[in-house]
């Protein structure tokens, strides 16, 4: 039994999720309270498997898992290498923490929809994990759609405006998926294969064909939309703002990362570094778009009053960092991008959970209405917020600093000083919008607002442990990753650098 589980560990993750998603409506139909424990324990199991997978990859090297026992070009193959094992662990552990937080939030926000909601969350995770682990280009498309459909549902369950936001996302998402599929079509007709490794092996013989170029452009465009890379980010702010609290908290850290992962996988591991960065100026274009995204997202984030919307725009900027790392296409920058995948997942999850805590206790998460009463009410939530905010600004020894440092080193390697300037400007802009909140919360209101009597003795009214704990763990993660970054980078990220970089 044990060996069976161990041998099949790569495929176990999507299957556990699928089984859970099927179980939830069946088991919890009568007793709605069962939905959360099922989802939660399934995620715990998955995180355990993910940890095991990471260990397995580090010890034994990449694992190629053949489904149905057909050799790769004939059948579908799952590939567990350093990159996929790492991304899977990041996604699932963040999801686990958000799910822990979700119990009370969802019970209050969506009391009658708990069963389909949790099933959709699990399906979305199933899709994400499948995307990351599969080694087959078409199989990836199917997982892409599983995750996308559940994403639309998770977003549309929110406020009044949310279905409109979800519909716009659906249109963009379908275009993205179809572009990807079309790209796979071009690639398939040129190479006759759908297996990533196989395609990579065949590509050098047909690399000079325009069809390959078009395939690459289509796939990158599709993934650009999915990861909300400027100027294809239009769907993101509304979607994150109007979605239910838990949805934005779970989508923001995971969804766009998966898009970035696919882009990275396709560009560097299928088409090859040389092709995308030397033969074509593709990576340069991506890095410039990312640079614009960094500035654009940061500037718009400053203009927002609603915290969730501010975080959404900040996501656009942070995705720009990841894009920049991919676009610079050298080892240091790529390490920065991959490390930022981890960091940003934790930072954004933490910040969205803080916004959720605000909504839970204050009934709003409007930045302009926060006062120092918040700090007295929720000191621990604010502590987590402070850590995450400082990490976003990029102060050492928090992890956000190190991803920026790697990116800066990467930029130097390409002698691209202009990107360093852009990283700087965005750090300062980040400081502006986070210190704006910190100032409000940690200091007395400067001018007493008329009609709103000064709350002299505010009682401590912190959220309960199940909501506080994940928030604090995420914040602690930022400190730990910062201090231990060398171990993470040397232990696993270094092995993800594709050949030829």
């Amino acid at each position: 039994m044990m060996t069976l589980l161990i041998d099949n560990s790569p495929v176990l993750i999507p299957l556990i999720f699928l089984a859970t998603a099927l179980l939830i409506p069946v088991v919890a139909a009568k007793r709605k309270t069962l939905a959360w424990p099922l989802a939660f324990w399934a995620t715990i199991a998955v995180v355990a498997v993910s940890i095991f997978n990471v260990r397995r990859v580090i010890c034994d090297g990449p694992v190629h898992y053949r489904l149905g026992n057909w050799a790769p070009p004939i059948g579908i193959e799952y590939v567990l290498d350093h990159l996929s094992a790492f991304v899977i662990l990041v996604i699932n552990s963040v999801a686990l923490l958000v799910l822990l937080h979700a119990k009370k939030v969802v019970a209050r926000e969506l009391p009658h929809k708990r069963v389909p909601y949790y099933a959709a969350v699990i399906l979305m995770l199933c899709g994400f994990n499948g995307i990351v682990i599969t080694g087959d280009l078409f199989n990836l498309y199917v997982f892409l759609e599983i995750s996308a459909l559940s994403l639309y549902g998770l977003i549309a369950a929110g406020e009044k405006q949310s279905p409109v936001a979800a519909f716009r996302y659906l249109i963009m998402g379908t275009i993205a998926a179809s572009f990807y599929l079309l790209g796979v079509g071009f690639l398939y007709m040129e190479t006759g294969s759908l297996n990533m490794a196989d395609v990579k092996a065949i590509l050098p013989t047909v690399i000079d064909q325009p069809a390959i170029l078009v395939a690459l452009v289509l796939m990158v465009l599709g993934m650009g939309i999915k990861m909300a890379l400027f100027p294809m980010h239009g769907w993101l702010p509304d979607a994150y703002t109007y979605a239910p609290t838990t949805s934005s908290a779970i989508i923001a850290p995971t969804g766009t990362k998966v898009g970035a992962y696919v882009m990275l996988r396709v560009m560097f591991f299928v088409f090859g570094v040389n092709f995308v960065s030397k033969t074509l100026p593709l990576t340069q274009i991506i890095s410039w778009l990312s640079a614009i995204a960094i500035i654009y997202g940061s500037v718009l984030a400053i203009a927002q009053k609603e915290m969730k919307r501010m975080l959404a725009y900040s996501s656009v900027a942070q995705i720009g960092y990841i894009g920049l790392g991919i676009g610079l296409a050298n080892p240091m920058a790529l390490i920065g991008a991959l490390f930022h995948v981890l960091n940003h997942a934790f930072m954004k999850a933490c910040l969205f959970l803080v916004a959720g805590n605000f909504r839970y206790k204050l009934g709003h998460s409007n930045v302009s209405r926060l006062t120092d009463a918040v700090r007295k009410k929720m000191p621990w939530t604010m502590a987590a917020f402070t850590v995450a905010a400082l990490s976003m600004v990029g102060l050492p020894p928090l992890s956000g600093f190190f991803s920026k440092l790697f990116l800066i080193l990467g930029a130097y390697e390409n002698s691209a000083w202009y990107f360093i300037v852009i990283i700087f400007i965005s750090s300062l802009l980040n400081a502006v919008y986070f210190f704006r909140i910190l100032e409000k919360v940690y200091m007395r209101p400067r001018i007493p607002v008329p009609g709103q009597e000064e709350e002299t003795d505010v009682k401590r009214d912190e959220v309960s442990a199940s909501m506080l704990l994940p928030t604090l763990i995420l914040a602690a993660g930022l400190i730990i990753f910062g201090i231990l970054n060398a171990f993470i980078v040397k232990g696993i990220i270094n092995f993800m650098i594709p050949a030829g970089m």
Partner: protein
């Protein structure tokens, strides 16, 4: 020369027709303001992607990828001739793609219905305007 040009056109015209359909679909998704019309565009778009794959799979003189009754016994001893049958792989993929497309359309319908319930309109411009007018929507300074 002429023959090769003709061959080239014969070998590619289906793609070009497909691309025209693709662009029509994309046009519908991007520029139509009515949500139902957007969905019509989406359907056209998805169908054209499927045509692209199916067109690529076909072969001159190839038959449907089902082994004929008369050859079944021979197939035990002699493997079927690949030139004789159309490539079944894209067909399989597209069966999946059709189902995925319909599933997407289904979700889109559910979205459209809940949008209509809330806003009583399906015009995108009007929707965006109403969205911004909602009272709890003071988002920017």
């Amino acid at each position: 020369m002429l023959k090769s040009t003709l061959d080239f056109i014969l070998g590619h015209y289906a793609y070009w027709f497909t691309f025209i359909l693709l662009v029509i679909g994309l046009y519908g998704m991007m520029m139509k303001k009515n949500l139902v019309q957007k969905l019509i565009g989406m359907t056209i778009f998805q169908v054209s992607v499927i045509i692209f794959y199916i067109a690529g799979a076909s072969k001159w003189g190839g038959t449907v990828p089902v082994i004929e009754e008369s050859l079944l016994h021979a197939a035990h001893v002699q493997l079927p001739d690949p030139a004789h049958y159309i490539n079944p792989l894209p067909h399989t993929l597209m069966l999946t793609a059709i189902v995925v497309g319909v599933a997407t359309t289904g979700v889109a319908f559910a979205l459209v219905i809940s949008i209509y319930k809330r806003y009583k309109t399906l015009n995108e411009d009007a929707l965006l305007k109403k969205m911004r007018e909602d009272k709890n929507d003071d988002l920017t300074d």
